[in-house]
Subunit: 263 residues, 4 copies
């Protein structure tokens, strides 16, 4: 059993982390933290009435009294840096989903982790499926330079193409032979038909009600095609990535940035 | 058994029509026509050595001697009009896949068909699946005004969007409530991401080696999606439409233009 | 503006109906009904604090005082029948999503509707997309007898194949030529690979976490394919069907059973 | 320029290899081999009339006179082994698509290759896309134990599930946590609906006219899905794998079995 504490347990994501730790057989919830808690024990919440897990308002007190192996932090950019530093300083592994770290802060925390020989992970995105899609696309682009991306999102999204689509194209650009796609002399009878051009790869953005966040990367070659698709329906999809990080950080002795680097 | 003659039997399409008539249990191949034949009987061709079907060089001789119920014509625009006129004049049903008829010619042939009470069909496109896709899209657009088209073709295709995509959009425009799709204030960070705009509907053209001709019409609504996809791998897909037309024209007493009008 | 009352406004579906009526520009919410209301006006609920819509506990009082054009009923089987009868009796159109009507009750209500010349609709399923998918499949099966169904649901679903898949197959069986599909001498090296056999059509049931309710109907023919897919993410997808029924029942002078009959 | 000879150039695959070598800018066709050739030079064939490439009937003569860097062999099982041995013995790289090698033969050829420090490749399947699909599935199964396979083939295929589907499942079984999929108490109202069971993973085999060879591997997790699809339209899809092997074997100093081991 891995002894896990959850910082920010009253937030949307923190609450999901609590439920994930309770559900996984090899994880044990040993404490939770909130800067301004209304309970002393998590069992004061109806949902968790059968548990017995202390609630803390101060991280150092939690670390000293409970001594967790891992602390998961989904809080606010303003406190995430000092939280992470404190956790690693104490010798516990930090699994951090809060965004907004500067590259200096990350470097500093990596140095600290290496000194303490503590494995930790900071990741802006814990969706294992999305990361795998991008890794697979990067590898396939090495063999199939003809590729287009179709990303599909709900119709309230303001920007096109999506950040994930652009990131996928960037990753493929590293392995893909630089070729111009499509026919020579290709003509758009209605402007925009061939989509956005990213180094010769085309990106198409579909926006429809009912959709959430989806992406298809389609490779074509003589006589064959290869398609990789990721569907994201809900941010709770992050939870399998969090559980993975809680376990996998044990195998490292420094801080890793980005989920892709532990897959 | 429906007694069928095939005009233009040495062309790519005509040759497929011959094979189709031979394969279908309720159709009988009674004669074939070519303007400059090298055989007297189709059994001089190795492929058809076990048959006994006369070859004609002149349509009127074929009509008078054989008296077929249906003549299928896949020839050249230069002769298709006079062929069709002759066939209907004789009282046989014409099923014509040759393109290039003017609207005056079609009207004249319709008048003639009505007088003779002969059912005939001229169709530029015999792909039943593509026609059904367009009909279904037209109907669905009545209930789901939020719709985007993704059409995917081989990478030698010069024009984008495809003719089928534009025709589909035109048909949907007839039933669809005129709304602007996507978010207000939507921004393309790379131009073209949101595709071609056809009356508010977006069309995306994918071009990749290995593909042939494919189209997806994607409807979105709160909590649900509906997608209609057609894949065309080969022009022999036209043959089920030809067989259908051979049978169905029996139910009409005038000339129909367009396969969609008998489905 | 169509004057609409909502019966069962405190239930999950009734609550969605209220929101739908408020959102649609041509619909006006004139009253709501609950058998045991805690409010006198809907504006006592925070969510609807800016409205002014009276709450009723008795249907006849609502009908007499408010005289709505349409009453939408999502209640319990035990009261739905008498509610519907009362609504039609009064001369208002009933749009009913409650299930459990016997065929005798439906016949009786149809007779009553015809006498009163009132258009009404009872539908066990208001998902327009699912109904269109089934209608399109029925039509396509007339031309493409080779068809397989893949239905995909969440992994808590107990029965396979799904009710929708079986209903789709039943509808296709009406128009489809009865043929045996697959190769003669086909062998399953692992039992079940070729799926469930429904009159020669194969049905495949996929069960995975993350999925909700999806179905693909795949038609194949020489050189082409046609696919119809419906994705259902949430029961709120019913709402576009409810709004449609509120409007469309005005065009009828009897009671219709089943959404498919007004599409 | 890599100097390439093609053994078996009159076979379907060998002919495609010749065209591939001619098309690729960094490859040079230096000789071709057939056991019973009717030409002395490939330019006696109309298709290749502008080339000047000698035709050989004996492999050792070709090796000694031409000294190619790579010999590609698509011949018959009866000669492939001795051909491969001779090629490696001579110090040229062998790229072999002929099937039917025993494991003893492969071991012996590997020993010989290592002695000669010659990189070679024998592969029963040169479809890069199919191999990538299987590798990606193997990796994804490590994180997503809930997975089903849908494989779709033409309706003349006798066996179900396909060899590729079973091989994919075998590969996933190595990395996937062994869990039972689907709901407890799941019931098939029509037998076979849930497909073939391979260690808890379900495989569904679709057979329709118009299809060639396609496979989807669908992973599901809470709130997300990941799908990997390969479409194979024609055996010429093997050619990108052959070109890759011609280049990549230069980086090895022994014989590799299986395309997956150089990707």
């Amino acid at each position: 059993m891995i002894r896990v504490a959850v910082s920010g347990y009253k937030g949307k994501m923190g609450h999901e982390v609590v439920k994930t730790v309770l559900r996984e057989a090899d994880l044990e919830l040993v404490a939770v933290l909130d800067k301004d808690p209304t309970e002393k024990n998590i069992n004061e919440l109806t949902e968790f009435s059968e548990l017995n897990v202390p609630v803390y308002a101060e991280l150092d007190k939690l670390l000293n009294e409970i001594n967790p192996e891992v602390v998961v932090d989904f809080t606010m950019p303003s406190v995430a840096y000092s939280n992470t530093k404190q956790i690693i300083q104490h010798g516990a592994r930090a699994v951090v989903g809060t965004t907004g770290f500067t590259s200096e802060q990350i470097k500093e925390l990596q140095t600290l982790s290496s000194e303490k020989k503590v494995g930790s992970l900071i990741a802006p995105n814990f969706a294992v499926g999305a990361v795998l899609m991008m890794q697979f696309a990067e590898k396939a682009a090495e063999y199939f330079p003809n590729v287009e991306i179709i990303e599909l999102h709900h119709d309230k999204k303001l920007d096109a193409p999506s950040g994930t689509a652009v990131k996928t194209a960037e990753m493929m650009a590293k392995t893909r032979e630089k070729i111009k796609q499509g026919a020579n002399g290709e003509v758009e009878s209605i402007q925009g038909a061939r989509g956005a051009d990213y180094e010769g790869m085309r990106i198409h953005s579909v926006r429809l009600p009912g959709l959430v966040a989806h992406q298809e990367v389609i490779f074509g070659d003589v006589g064959q095609g290869l398609t990789i698709r990721h569907d994201s329906y809900d941010r709770i999809s992050f939870m399998s990535g969090v559980a993975l990080a809680i376990r996998k950080t044990a195998e490292y002795d420094t801080l890793i940035y980005g989920l892709e680097n532990i897959l």
